[in-house]
């Protein structure tokens, strides 16, 4: 379970998150929507301690983590896998070494097990035979999928996806969306997905959160949001509902 209490994050005199309260239950898939620059990525980065809130608390499985030291965050980061908005692959390493990177540091595995888990992760994101390639030799879409594989290879209990399907073709997008759903069923993982894909949000989310100006504008199940009269929600839904 993840709980945010009165989360405030400022950059200089700009307030990005402005007193955010939210509870995410175990095993839930929560989609976060919001226009560009409302602080979706900042919210995710606060969970894994890449950024620290200025005020407020973040509770993960009964621990208040926002004042943890970098070393204490180690176990939190093992539990919470983050997929970045950019592929963020290490240019100097091969695809195999990229995916093995986290496995080697978070777990004590034999070389055989590392290979198996790398292969499994690549299979899950629907690419194969690229282990020895360098990230710079691959297309953006491929890089994003490798990046996804790098995180799910760790089989974390909590998955944070920052726009996992933005910039991907429709077929891969479907594959990834099913993957998110399967992971939450098989691993019983909790997922927070930042996305602009309204269709997908409506079909696989347990709950949808609409962020605006650092606060929650609307929250509810897909069905509840479809009925909502909130202007921002209607704007987001317009494209889907008109179909």
């Amino acid at each position: 379970m993840i709980e945010f209490k009165g989360l405030i994050k400022k950059f200089g005199n700009r307030t990005v998150l402005n007193g955010l309260d939210l509870i995410i239950r175990e095993g839930e898939i929560v989609f976060i929507l919001g226009t560009s620059g409302t602080g979706k990525s900042v919210l995710l980065k606060n969970i894994v301690g890449l950024m620290r809130p200025d005020e407020g608390e973040i509770w993960i499985d009964g621990e208040e983590v926002s004042r943890f030291s970098e070393d204490q965050y180690f176990s939190i980061r093992k539990k919470c896998g983050m997929v970045f908005q950019q592929p963020a692959l290490f240019d100097s390493l091969t695809v195999f070494e990229n995916i093995a990177f986290g496995l080697r540091r978070h777990f004590r595995l034999s070389e055989r097990e590392v290979t198996d888990r790398v292969q499994l992760a690549l299979k899950l994101v629907n690419i194969q035979g690229v282990e020895q390639k360098r990230p710079t030799q691959m297309s953006y879409g491929m890089q994003k999928r490798v990046s996804l594989a790098r995180t799910i290879a760790l089989q974390p209990k909590i998955l944070l996806f920052d726009e996992p399907t933005t910039g991907l073709d429709p077929i891969t997008t479907t594959v990834i969306n099913h993957l998110i759903q399967d992971l939450s069923k098989q691993l019983k993982s909790t997922s927070i997905v930042v996305s602009h894909d309204m269709n997908c949000a409506l079909s696989i989310a347990d709950r949808i959160v609409v962020l605006d100006k650092g606060q929650i504008e609307a929250i509810g199940t897909p069905d509840e949001l479809k009925k909502s009269q909130h202007p921002l929600v209607r704007d987001f839904l317009a494209e889907v509902l008109s179909l």
Binding site: K45, V48, G49, L50, E70, Y73, F74, R77, K78, G81, M82, F84, Q85, Q86, P87, A88, L89, F90, D91, F101, G102, R105, H106, R150, T151, L154
Partner: protein, 259 residues
């Protein structure tokens, strides 16, 4: 006033970063293979540049000294004097400039790119410490490699001086080399070595600091590279003065003991 505050802020940030590097170096395990890879890649990348720089520094110094000494008919001491000046002062300084332009810029651009493409955040998420994983190996790599490169550059400068001494002033190789041991004493060599070391530390600290703290996309990387060059140049000159100053004091004390 604001400008001054900014400069001191930068300096403070750099020193704090050096401290963090040192604590990481002491407390965490650094993979030796990472360090050797870094040393090797820095040496490979900058070998030709330093060799050239060294050669021409030596050559230029010799030409300058030859012009002066010809008037006093003291050309016999040409090799000794110009080598001494090069080893103690000009050699380390100019070669360090070259090196900082090359290695410093490359390092800050590389780290800056890793920062703005979230690779450094990814390292943290994947259970590692970026300082331990990428910064410290680069830092040690640059310091050790720079040290070697500067030393090698100085040898090249003697070589450059020899050749130019022969062509320009008609001092043959034996004669050029004959008085080097008389004028260049262990103290000069120690001075040169200390300077090389301190310049190497400056280049390594500034470039890793600037790269690691880059913000603001591709433009930010550009800015980081520019400020790395400017800052290393300024700090190298300051360090040059500082080491000479300290060196002088040490020499005074040593002389005091002897007499």
């Amino acid at each position: 006033m604001k400008f001054l505050a900014e400069i001191f802020g930068e300096l403070g940030g750099t020193l704090l970063f050096l401290k963090t590097i040192m604590t990481t170096l002491v407390n965490k395990k650094i993979r030796r293979s990472d360090v050797f890879t870094q040393i090797w890649s820095v040496i490979i990348a900058s070998f030709p540049t330093t060799a050239m720089a060294g050669f021409f520094v030596g050559a230029i110094m010799t030409v300058q000294f030859a012009l002066l000494m010809n008037e006093f008919g003291a050309l016999g001491y040409l090799g000794g004097l110009s080598t001494s000046a090069t080893v103690r002062e000009i050699g380390p300084l100019l070669i360090a400039f070259m090196l900082s332009g090359k290695v410093g810029a490359f390092t800050s651009a590389e780290l800056g790119t890793m920062r703005v493409t979230e690779q450094i955040d990814a390292i943290r998420c994947l259970g590692s410490d970026p300082l331990q994983e990428i910064i410290v190996p680069r830092f040690i790599g640059i310091v050790i490699a720079s040290f070697f490169l500067l030393g090698f550059g100085l040898i090249m400068s003697i070589f450059g001086g020899m050749i130019l001494g022969d062509i320009f002033a008609g001092v043959n190789f034996q004669e050029y080399l004959r008085h080097i041991p008389t004028v260049v004493n262990p103290v000069s060599i120690l001075f040169g070595t200390v300077k090389c070391g301190s310049f190497a530390v400056v280049t390594a600290t500034v470039s890793t600091y600037k790269g690691f703290t880059t913000t603001g996309g591709a433009k930010g990387v550009g800015k980081a590279v520019v400020s790395t060059s400017v800052m290393t140049m300024i700090l190298i000159v300051l360090m040059d003065w500082f080491t000479s100053f300290i060196g002088d004091i040490v020499l005074q004390i040593a002389r005091g003991y002897r007499s």
